[in-house]
Amino acid sequence: MTAVLVDGVVLGLQFAILGVGLTLVYGLGGVVNLAHGQMAVLAAIFTARLMDNGLPTVVAAGVGVLGIGLLGIVLDRTLMQPVYRQRGEARILLGLLLMLGVGFVIDGVLEWRYPIEALNLRIAGEPFTVGGLKIRRGSIVASGAAITVGLMLVAFFRYTTFGRATRSVIQDEEGARLCGINPSVVRTVIFGLSGALAGVVAITQSMTSPVVSTAGVSLTIFALIVAVVGGLGSVSGAFLAGILLGVVNTLSAFYIGTFVSSIILVVAAAVTILFRPQGILGTG
């Protein structure tokens, strides 16, 4: 039971980082990135290819994460510009459909070039024993990385000028503009950051189980559910929801079965929409 719980928290931390990336982009520009999971997988396969070509793991992972961040920036500066010119429901729909198309393209490229490629960074060695509980090395490193990234995000949003500017744009774009903040620049940087976060998840995920080239759609869906349960646009909500759903998912997969756990996730999203559309931490 406790071992499963630990696995759940480890998975939950990955979910959390994935959901935060998605919710940030939505909060800033109203774009629901339906290619979020595909971008994560792209980073994983890119990293795997670099390692095949002899690059050391750490360098390959770093290049993979930065590469996918760069792709985020490029997408924002090109494809997303017509989206930002729209308003309200039209903006949301166009952003959703365009990113869905991008997701198809990424999935198609992966299926075409690397159908059986996977990133596997399984860390060898004896499991650690913490308080009588055996924890795999990969889980420790993955959680450590996810927690570090999480703390860096908190520090970024609390203490840096750019982080505060980002929060102000999420709250009130027009007000932020009047204070001299350029929302367009903030959006671009955060889209890149979101991509990099997806890349980080791909790397940490592969430390406990291989990330295969077909995992994109399901990663996207996990990120969406986390973002909805946490309240779209809420970073702390997404973080909490990620950990919660990771635990629920792992427990139900272990005790009942994988397909039941995905049904539970859908029900969680539906219940949130019905009863707390503002998310678990939302008010009003």
Partner: protein
């Protein structure tokens, strides 16, 4: 006047069905080509249903494959296991799809921001459908697939006849689409599309109409999926998967023109031909679909067909037949308002 108008509204359907009825003539001897064009009609049926849900009421259902799969697997499992005639199980399974579609619609429309929530909930539903099909091996056969015997001896198991079964299905779907469009519900849908707030203020029950469209469209998807299961005699986890159904249906509708009557047929025809031409490059298909989706939504909001007819219309004055067959929003506006 009234009769004339009814004729004009249904004429495009009759014309399209007549043309489609001639398509098999060169192919009757080829089992593989009959499969290709029959599958083309299946996708036309899916796309009409998706058009009813997304085109008319703006609900982005990203689970067309899953709803068709409920129909397909539901009918196949019940008819083969319990010996119930497949015609009955098909209807039952289609109703089950309708129940799921209605529930999804209800969850999504119970809040504002419905585009996002519909997209997210239905996409998540697709994931649980796929996990269910893979996970419950004793029911669905998991990744090995499920052979189906029910219906194999009837006309749906033949070589040429199933094409006409699907053509009848497409004809009925087009008529249903048109009927709904011309009814009170259709006028309400149009009011919703034009100005949701104003429609709501005028007493249109937005949520109710969305849910009705969700249910009817989902029943259509389930029935088409069930027909395909009994026709094909074998279904697997990818038969109704997100990658094999949803992606194509979205591209076909975007190409044909969202909210148009004949657009889904044009989209399905174009991509069926394209797939056949590119049969040696099957792995590139998804890249093509993704690229086309992005281009279509960026530049032709009414689909390629809509863009072409708009240009034609601007050149010559209003052509009622072209207008009636392609851009229905216009038809409702110009010919329906005086009718009580």
């Amino acid at each position: 006047m009234g009769g004339n108008e009814t004729v004009r509204a249904y004429l495009p359907i009759a014309a399209v069905v007549a043309v489609l009825a001639l398509v098999p003539i060169p192919f009757v001897d080829s089992r593989s080509m009959m499969l290709v064009i029959t599958t083309g009609l299946l996708f036309a049926a899916y796309t009409i249903a998706f058009n009813l849900i997304f085109g008319s009421t703006g609900q982005l259902f990203l689970c067309t494959g899953a709803l068709a799969g409920i129909g397909g697997f539901g009918s196949a499992i019940v008819s083969d296991r319990y010996g119930i005639p497949f015609v009955i199980t098909m209807v039952g399974a289609a109703v089950l799809s309708g129940v799921f579609g209605g529930l999804l619609s209800w969850v999504a429309v119970s809040r504002s921001l419905d585009t996002i929530f519909t997209g997210i909930v239905t996409l998540a539903f697709s994931l649980s459908y796929e996990n269910f099909v893979l996970g419950s091996r004793d029911l669905t056969g998991g990744e090995n697939g499920l052979p189906i015997t029910a219906g194999g001896e009837s006309i749906i198991g033949g070589q040429t006849a199933p094409y006409y079964v699907f053509l009848a299905l497409v004809a009925v779907y087009l008529i249903v689409y048109r009927l709904i469009q011309r009814s009170h519900i259709g006028l309400a849908f149009k009011a919703l599309r034009d100005d949701e707030v104003a429609a709501e203020l005028a007493g249109v029950d937005v949520a109710r109409y969305r849910i009705i469209a969700g249910i009817i469209g989902s029943i259509m998807l389930g029935l088409a999926g069930a027909c395909f299961a009994h026709y094909r005699g074998f279904i697997g986890d990818t038969t109704y998967g997100f990658g094999s159904v949803d992606v194509r249906v979205l591209v076909m509708l975007a190409f044909g023109g969202i909210g148009s009557l004949i657009g889904p047929i044009v989209g399905a025809a174009v991509f069926t031909v394209l797939d056949e031409l590119l049969v040696d490059y099957a792995q590139l298909r998804e890249i093509l679909y993704g690229t086309v989706t992005v281009i279509l939504f960026l530049s032709f909001r009414q689909g390629v067909v809509g863009a072409i007819t708009n240009r034609l219309r601007r050149r010559s004055a209003v052509d009622p037949i072209v207008g009636g067959s392609v851009d229905d929003g216009e038809v409702l506006e110009t010919t329906h308002e005086p009718v009580s």
